[in-house]
């Protein structure tokens, strides 16, 4: 299935992917341990819902980090 992750076209190798699959695909094990947040089509998805939030074709997944600096 084709979705966008942080603006880039990405093909996920599964039929019924969830947010968790997209993260597995996009982030390293170390990155998954650090603080980050996820939005699907600009709506925030809580960590507890990663495995239960299905993705549809052409969904836009944004993975973003807390910025530290000022």
């Amino acid at each position: 299935m084709n979705i966008k992750i942080n603006g880039e076209e990405t093909k996920l190798p599964c039929d019924k992917p969830t947010v968790a699959d997209a993260l597995q695909w996009h982030l390293s094990a170390l990155e998954r341990k650090q603080s980050f947040a996820v939005a699907v089509n600009s709506s925030f998805i809580a960590k507890d819902n990663y495995t239960t939030t299905p993705l549809a074709s052409n969904d836009c997944v944004d993975i973003f980090l807390p910025i530290q600096g000022g």
Partner: protein, 247 residues
């Protein structure tokens, strides 16, 4: 009542129907705490001082360094070595002698919070560390005070208004503390001054709108990408299991 001097000085914003004399008086009665007087704190404090916020408390324990001058626009070479909050207060008082500027020349902590927050109307987070932001987030919820967060590194900025309530998300709802250190900051990946100005402008605008009774938006993380020069808004939801803002 506004004095004639105030009428003249603030005329261009009083002219706006969303501000008016009523809004100007609200600004003059407000007390805003700015935590962090670096790249965000400099422009935020300049805009709020010049707009006539009645009392500003500036908090920073750092001293000015030569490498700050590229973006911390209140400071000049002769200020190097001096405390940021102290120097800023001096310059802001010159810019607007009608307001009161108070200095806390140390890093913000729980002890200062207990002493100062009861008198504050809005907290503005201009700090450069996540540890400080998590502390301010907790205090904002504890003292039920609006917190306007800002952060920027490289070409990227983020800003968010937290208005503690049973419906509004806090920072911890979005980025739960992991205990894993975040190593990237302005020192490690760099920063452009105008990116800070854009985030600081948004923070100042939110503060002025909030204090003048205009509508402001909670549950929204605004992210700025300086390369494409575009904003991206993320709709947030309060988390029932949040360790900071939910019971």
């Amino acid at each position: 009542m506004l004095t004639q001097q105030e009428q003249i000085r603030y005329g261009r914003q009083i002219m706006l129907k969303q501000v008016g004399e009523h809004g100007q008086l609200a600004l003059q009665n407000a007390h805003v705490l700015i935590v962090g007087m670096g790249g965000l704190g400099c422009p935020v404090s300049l805009y709020l001082a010049s707009a006539g916020i009645g009392k500003l408390t500036l908090c920073d324990g750092d001293h000015i360094e030569a490498s700050n001058l590229q973006r911390q626009i209140l400071f000049t070479p002769r200020d190097i070595g001096h405390n940021k909050a102290e120097v800023a207060a001096e310059k802001l008082t010159q810019q607007n002698p009608l307001i009161e500027v108070e200095v806390l020349d140390e890093m913000f902590n729980e002890e200062l919070a207990t002493c100062y927050l009861p008198d504050i109307d809005v907290i503005i987070d201009c700090t450069d560390s996540l540890t400080a932001r998590y502390l301010l987030n907790r205090l904002s919820v504890e003292f039920q005070l609006p917190l306007i967060i800002g952060a920027a590194t490289g070409f990227d900025g983020q800003t968010m208004l937290i208005q503690p309530s049973d419906k509004n998300a806090c920072y911890q709802c979005i980025f739960p503390e992991t205990g894993e250190p975040q190593t990237e900051n302005c020192q490690t990946i760099g920063i452009l001054g105008p990116v800070l100005a854009i985030v600081a402008g948004m923070q100042s605008l939110t503060a002025i709108k909030y204090l003048t009774g205009n509508q402001v938006t909670s549950n929204q993380l605004m992210m700025f990408d300086g390369l494409s020069q575009q904003w991206h808004h993320i709709k947030l939801t309060k988390q029932d299991k949040c360790t900071v803002c939910s019971n």
